[in-house]
Amino acid sequence: MKVAIIVFPGSNCDTDMYHAFSDILELDVDYVFHKETNLESYDIIVLPGGFSYGDYLRPGALAKHSPIMNAIKTSAEAGKIILGICNGFQILTECGLLPGALLHNKTTKFICKNQILKVKNNKTIFTNMFFKDELVNIPIAHADGRYYCDAKTLQSLKQNNQILFKYISNPNGSIDDIAGIINEKGNVLGMMPHPERAVELLLNSVDGLILLESMIKNEFFRRRL
Protein backbone atom coordinates (compact mmCIF):
# COMPACT_ATOMS: atom_id res chain seq x y z
CA MET A 1 0.00 0.00 0.00
CA LYS A 2 1.44 3.33 -1.02
CA VAL A 3 0.67 6.79 0.26
CA ALA A 4 1.23 10.02 -1.68
CA ILE A 5 1.60 13.30 0.16
CA ILE A 6 1.11 16.14 -2.28
CA VAL A 7 3.48 19.06 -1.80
CA PHE A 8 2.16 22.38 -3.07
CA PRO A 9 4.34 25.48 -2.90
CA GLY A 10 3.65 26.65 0.65
CA SER A 11 2.42 23.32 2.10
CA ASN A 12 3.95 22.96 5.52
CA CYS A 13 2.26 20.03 7.27
CA ASP A 14 3.52 17.61 4.64
CA THR A 15 6.43 16.42 6.79
CA ASP A 16 4.15 15.97 9.79
CA MET A 17 1.87 13.74 7.68
CA TYR A 18 4.88 11.89 6.33
CA HIS A 19 6.08 11.07 9.84
CA ALA A 20 2.63 9.88 10.89
CA PHE A 21 2.38 7.44 7.98
CA SER A 22 6.02 6.44 7.76
CA ASP A 23 7.34 6.36 11.34
CA ILE A 24 4.20 5.42 13.21
CA LEU A 25 2.16 3.42 10.72
CA GLU A 26 5.24 2.10 8.90
CA LEU A 27 3.80 2.48 5.43
CA ASP A 28 5.46 3.24 2.11
CA VAL A 29 5.10 7.02 1.67
CA ASP A 30 6.26 9.41 -1.02
CA TYR A 31 6.21 13.18 -1.30
CA VAL A 32 4.70 14.08 -4.68
CA PHE A 33 5.50 17.57 -5.95
CA HIS A 34 2.57 19.54 -7.35
CA LYS A 35 4.18 19.65 -10.81
CA GLU A 36 3.84 15.85 -11.23
CA THR A 37 0.88 14.48 -13.13
CA ASN A 38 0.71 10.79 -12.28
CA LEU A 39 -0.70 9.20 -9.12
CA GLU A 40 -1.45 5.75 -10.47
CA SER A 41 0.82 3.84 -8.14
CA TYR A 42 -0.74 5.33 -5.00
CA ASP A 43 -3.68 4.02 -2.97
CA ILE A 44 -4.03 6.84 -0.48
CA ILE A 45 -3.54 10.47 -1.48
CA VAL A 46 -3.13 13.20 1.12
CA LEU A 47 -3.49 16.95 0.61
CA PRO A 48 -1.74 18.31 3.71
CA GLY A 49 -2.17 21.51 5.69
CA GLY A 50 -0.25 24.73 5.20
CA PHE A 51 -0.52 27.88 3.15
CA SER A 52 -0.38 26.75 -0.48
CA TYR A 53 0.39 29.79 -2.63
CA GLY A 54 0.42 31.81 0.57
CA ASP A 55 -3.39 31.51 0.74
CA TYR A 56 -3.32 34.31 -1.80
CA LEU A 57 -6.60 35.25 -3.51
CA ARG A 58 -8.44 32.67 -1.34
CA PRO A 59 -7.03 29.65 0.51
CA GLY A 60 -6.75 26.83 -2.02
CA ALA A 61 -7.88 28.98 -4.96
CA LEU A 62 -4.55 28.88 -6.78
CA ALA A 63 -3.56 25.35 -5.78
CA LYS A 64 -6.59 23.96 -7.58
CA HIS A 65 -4.91 24.86 -10.87
CA SER A 66 -1.71 22.95 -10.09
CA PRO A 67 -0.71 20.25 -12.61
CA ILE A 68 -1.27 17.48 -10.04
CA MET A 69 -4.96 18.30 -9.61
CA ASN A 70 -6.13 16.32 -12.63
CA ALA A 71 -4.54 13.19 -11.27
CA ILE A 72 -6.17 13.87 -7.89
CA LYS A 73 -9.58 14.22 -9.55
CA THR A 74 -9.23 11.00 -11.54
CA SER A 75 -8.01 9.19 -8.42
CA ALA A 76 -11.10 10.40 -6.57
CA GLU A 77 -13.34 9.17 -9.39
CA ALA A 78 -11.55 5.83 -9.36
CA GLY A 79 -12.47 5.45 -5.70
CA LYS A 80 -9.03 5.90 -4.19
CA ILE A 81 -8.82 7.30 -0.68
CA ILE A 82 -8.30 11.07 -0.65
CA LEU A 83 -7.61 12.88 2.60
CA GLY A 84 -7.65 16.70 2.66
CA ILE A 85 -6.50 18.32 5.92
CA CYS A 86 -6.98 22.02 6.65
CA ASN A 87 -5.52 23.69 3.52
CA GLY A 88 -6.14 20.34 1.81
CA PHE A 89 -9.84 20.62 2.72
CA GLN A 90 -9.85 24.15 1.32
CA ILE A 91 -8.35 22.91 -1.96
CA LEU A 92 -10.91 20.06 -2.20
CA THR A 93 -13.84 22.49 -1.83
CA GLU A 94 -12.31 24.94 -4.31
CA CYS A 95 -11.99 22.26 -6.98
CA GLY A 96 -15.42 20.81 -6.33
CA LEU A 97 -14.42 17.38 -4.99
CA LEU A 98 -16.25 18.37 -1.83
CA PRO A 99 -19.24 20.73 -1.53
CA GLY A 100 -19.18 24.05 0.28
CA ALA A 101 -16.45 26.53 1.06
CA LEU A 102 -14.14 27.52 3.92
CA LEU A 103 -14.34 31.16 4.94
CA HIS A 104 -12.54 33.45 7.38
CA ASN A 105 -13.00 32.53 11.04
CA LYS A 106 -15.84 34.35 12.75
CA THR A 107 -13.35 35.72 15.30
CA THR A 108 -11.26 37.11 12.38
CA LYS A 109 -8.16 35.66 14.05
CA PHE A 110 -5.99 32.61 13.51
CA ILE A 111 -6.69 30.03 16.19
CA CYS A 112 -4.42 27.20 17.31
CA LYS A 113 -5.63 24.92 20.09
CA ASN A 114 -6.63 21.42 21.08
CA GLN A 115 -10.16 20.82 19.88
CA ILE A 116 -12.83 18.38 21.00
CA LEU A 117 -14.87 16.92 18.15
CA LYS A 118 -17.85 14.62 18.12
CA VAL A 119 -17.80 11.67 15.72
CA LYS A 120 -21.15 11.86 13.93
CA ASN A 121 -20.78 8.98 11.50
CA ASN A 122 -18.60 6.04 12.36
CA LYS A 123 -19.58 3.88 9.42
CA THR A 124 -17.07 5.28 6.96
CA ILE A 125 -13.63 4.35 5.71
CA PHE A 126 -12.18 7.05 7.91
CA THR A 127 -14.10 6.60 11.14
CA ASN A 128 -14.90 2.91 11.53
CA MET A 129 -12.60 2.58 14.52
CA PHE A 130 -14.41 5.28 16.52
CA PHE A 131 -17.56 4.86 18.56
CA LYS A 132 -20.65 6.77 17.47
CA ASP A 133 -20.82 10.14 19.24
CA GLU A 134 -17.35 9.58 20.63
CA LEU A 135 -15.57 12.75 21.76
CA VAL A 136 -12.06 13.04 20.38
CA ASN A 137 -9.23 15.58 20.67
CA ILE A 138 -7.76 16.62 17.31
CA PRO A 139 -6.03 20.05 17.27
CA ILE A 140 -6.93 22.92 14.95
CA ALA A 141 -4.75 25.70 13.55
CA HIS A 142 -6.37 27.95 10.99
CA ALA A 143 -7.58 31.43 10.12
CA ASP A 144 -10.05 30.34 7.43
CA GLY A 145 -11.88 27.35 8.87
CA ARG A 146 -15.49 28.49 8.86
CA TYR A 147 -17.35 25.87 6.82
CA TYR A 148 -20.15 27.28 4.71
CA CYS A 149 -22.67 25.75 2.32
CA ASP A 150 -26.15 26.74 1.18
CA ALA A 151 -29.29 25.30 2.77
CA LYS A 152 -29.82 22.76 0.02
CA THR A 153 -26.29 21.39 0.37
CA LEU A 154 -26.59 21.21 4.14
CA GLN A 155 -29.82 19.25 3.79
CA SER A 156 -28.12 16.85 1.40
CA LEU A 157 -25.05 16.41 3.64
CA LYS A 158 -27.30 15.51 6.55
CA GLN A 159 -29.46 13.17 4.52
CA ASN A 160 -26.48 11.26 3.14
CA ASN A 161 -24.64 11.17 6.47
CA GLN A 162 -21.70 13.02 4.98
CA ILE A 163 -20.92 14.94 8.15
CA LEU A 164 -18.19 13.04 9.99
CA PHE A 165 -17.04 15.43 12.71
CA LYS A 166 -18.67 18.33 14.50
CA TYR A 167 -17.01 20.83 16.80
CA ILE A 168 -17.86 20.88 20.46
CA SER A 169 -17.79 24.61 21.28
CA ASN A 170 -17.53 25.87 17.70
CA PRO A 171 -14.27 27.85 17.40
CA ASN A 172 -14.79 29.44 13.98
CA GLY A 173 -18.51 29.82 13.19
CA SER A 174 -18.81 26.77 10.89
CA ILE A 175 -22.38 26.12 9.81
CA ASP A 176 -23.94 23.36 11.88
CA ASP A 177 -20.59 23.06 13.73
CA ILE A 178 -19.20 21.07 10.80
CA ALA A 179 -15.51 20.18 11.18
CA GLY A 180 -15.16 17.42 8.59
CA ILE A 181 -17.20 15.91 5.74
CA ILE A 182 -16.95 13.19 3.09
CA ASN A 183 -18.21 13.13 -0.47
CA GLU A 184 -21.28 11.14 -1.45
CA LYS A 185 -19.18 8.21 -2.61
CA GLY A 186 -17.43 8.12 0.78
CA ASN A 187 -13.82 8.03 -0.39
CA VAL A 188 -12.88 11.71 -0.09
CA LEU A 189 -12.57 13.30 3.37
CA GLY A 190 -12.02 16.96 4.10
CA MET A 191 -11.51 18.22 7.66
CA MET A 192 -10.05 21.33 9.26
CA PRO A 193 -8.54 19.66 12.38
CA HIS A 194 -5.13 18.03 11.98
CA PRO A 195 -5.11 14.27 12.71
CA GLU A 196 -1.33 14.14 12.09
CA ARG A 197 -0.91 16.29 15.22
CA ALA A 198 -2.67 13.68 17.32
CA VAL A 199 -0.66 10.53 16.71
CA GLU A 200 1.58 10.37 19.78
CA LEU A 201 0.92 10.44 23.52
CA LEU A 202 3.97 12.66 23.85
CA LEU A 203 2.02 15.31 21.96
CA ASN A 204 -1.16 14.83 24.02
CA SER A 205 -3.58 12.85 21.85
CA VAL A 206 -3.68 9.74 19.68
CA ASP A 207 -7.19 10.28 18.31
CA GLY A 208 -5.74 11.26 14.95
CA LEU A 209 -3.95 7.93 14.80
CA ILE A 210 -7.27 6.14 15.12
CA LEU A 211 -8.53 7.94 12.04
CA LEU A 212 -5.45 7.08 10.00
CA GLU A 213 -5.61 3.47 11.14
CA SER A 214 -9.28 3.25 10.15
CA MET A 215 -8.30 4.36 6.66
CA ILE A 216 -5.54 1.85 6.31
CA LYS A 217 -7.50 -1.05 7.73
CA ASN A 218 -10.24 -0.32 5.27
CA GLU A 219 -7.90 0.01 2.32
CA PHE A 220 -6.21 -3.22 3.28
CA PHE A 221 -9.47 -5.11 3.33
CA ARG A 222 -10.69 -3.46 0.18
CA ARG A 223 -7.67 -4.57 -1.76
CA ARG A 224 -8.04 -8.04 -0.49
CA LEU A 225 -11.48 -8.35 -2.14
Binding site: L57, L62, G100, A101, L103, K106, T108, Y148, D150
Partner: protein, 79 residues
Protein backbone atom coordinates in the same frame (compact mmCIF):
# COMPACT_ATOMS: atom_id res chain seq x y z
CA UNK B 1 -2.99 46.51 -27.70
CA UNK B 2 -3.82 46.14 -24.02
CA UNK B 3 -6.81 47.26 -22.05
CA UNK B 4 -7.19 47.84 -18.33
CA UNK B 5 -9.85 45.79 -16.61
CA UNK B 6 -11.01 46.42 -13.06
CA UNK B 7 -12.85 43.57 -11.33
CA UNK B 8 -14.75 43.98 -8.07
CA UNK B 9 -15.38 40.89 -5.99
CA UNK B 10 -17.79 41.12 -3.09
CA UNK B 11 -18.95 38.45 -0.66
CA UNK B 12 -22.52 37.31 -1.24
CA UNK B 13 -25.05 39.19 0.87
CA UNK B 14 -26.28 36.18 2.78
CA UNK B 15 -22.83 35.29 4.07
CA UNK B 16 -21.60 36.57 7.41
CA UNK B 17 -18.60 38.85 6.95
CA UNK B 18 -16.96 39.19 10.38
CA UNK B 19 -14.18 41.43 9.09
CA UNK B 20 -16.76 43.89 7.75
CA UNK B 21 -18.55 43.78 11.09
CA UNK B 22 -15.35 44.65 12.91
CA UNK B 23 -14.70 47.61 10.61
CA UNK B 24 -18.28 48.82 10.98
CA UNK B 25 -18.07 48.67 14.77
CA UNK B 26 -14.83 50.65 14.81
CA UNK B 27 -16.34 53.36 12.61
CA UNK B 28 -19.44 53.56 14.78
CA UNK B 29 -17.30 53.79 17.91
CA UNK B 30 -15.54 56.75 16.36
CA UNK B 31 -18.88 58.47 15.98
CA UNK B 32 -19.62 57.90 12.31
CA UNK B 33 -23.24 57.13 11.42
CA UNK B 34 -22.52 53.93 9.47
CA UNK B 35 -25.24 51.34 8.96
CA UNK B 36 -23.36 48.84 6.81
CA UNK B 37 -19.87 47.92 5.62
CA UNK B 38 -18.98 45.30 3.01
CA UNK B 39 -15.38 44.27 2.40
CA UNK B 40 -14.44 43.02 -1.02
CA UNK B 41 -11.51 42.83 -3.40
CA UNK B 42 -10.53 44.91 -6.36
CA UNK B 43 -8.35 43.28 -9.02
CA UNK B 44 -6.78 45.22 -11.88
CA UNK B 45 -5.65 43.37 -15.01
CA UNK B 46 -3.89 44.46 -18.16
CA UNK B 47 -5.08 42.12 -20.89
CA UNK B 48 -4.62 41.92 -24.67
CA UNK B 49 -7.59 43.50 -26.42
CA UNK B 50 -9.60 40.96 -28.35
CA UNK B 51 -12.96 40.43 -30.11
CA UNK B 52 -14.34 38.23 -27.34
CA UNK B 53 -12.70 40.10 -24.49
CA UNK B 54 -15.80 40.03 -22.29
CA UNK B 55 -16.03 36.27 -22.70
CA UNK B 56 -12.42 35.87 -21.65
CA UNK B 57 -12.81 38.11 -18.62
CA UNK B 58 -15.85 36.08 -17.53
CA UNK B 59 -13.81 32.91 -17.94
CA UNK B 60 -10.95 34.32 -15.90
CA UNK B 61 -13.36 35.34 -13.15
CA UNK B 62 -15.25 32.07 -13.02
CA UNK B 63 -12.23 29.80 -13.38
CA UNK B 64 -9.71 31.51 -11.15
CA UNK B 65 -10.57 34.78 -9.49
CA UNK B 66 -14.02 34.19 -8.00
CA UNK B 67 -15.57 31.50 -5.81
CA UNK B 68 -19.09 31.61 -7.17
CA UNK B 69 -20.54 29.86 -4.14
CA UNK B 70 -19.55 32.68 -1.83
CA UNK B 71 -18.78 35.70 -4.01
CA UNK B 72 -20.40 38.01 -6.57
CA UNK B 73 -18.42 40.00 -9.11
CA UNK B 74 -18.70 42.77 -11.63
CA UNK B 75 -16.11 44.45 -13.79
CA UNK B 76 -15.44 47.42 -15.99
CA UNK B 77 -13.18 47.75 -19.01
CA UNK B 78 -11.37 51.06 -19.09
CA UNK B 79 -10.67 52.40 -22.55
Amino acid sequence: MEVDVRIFIMPKEEILDPAAKAVSKTLQNLGYDISQVNLGKCIDLKIKKDEDIRERIEEICQKVLVNELTEDYYYSILH
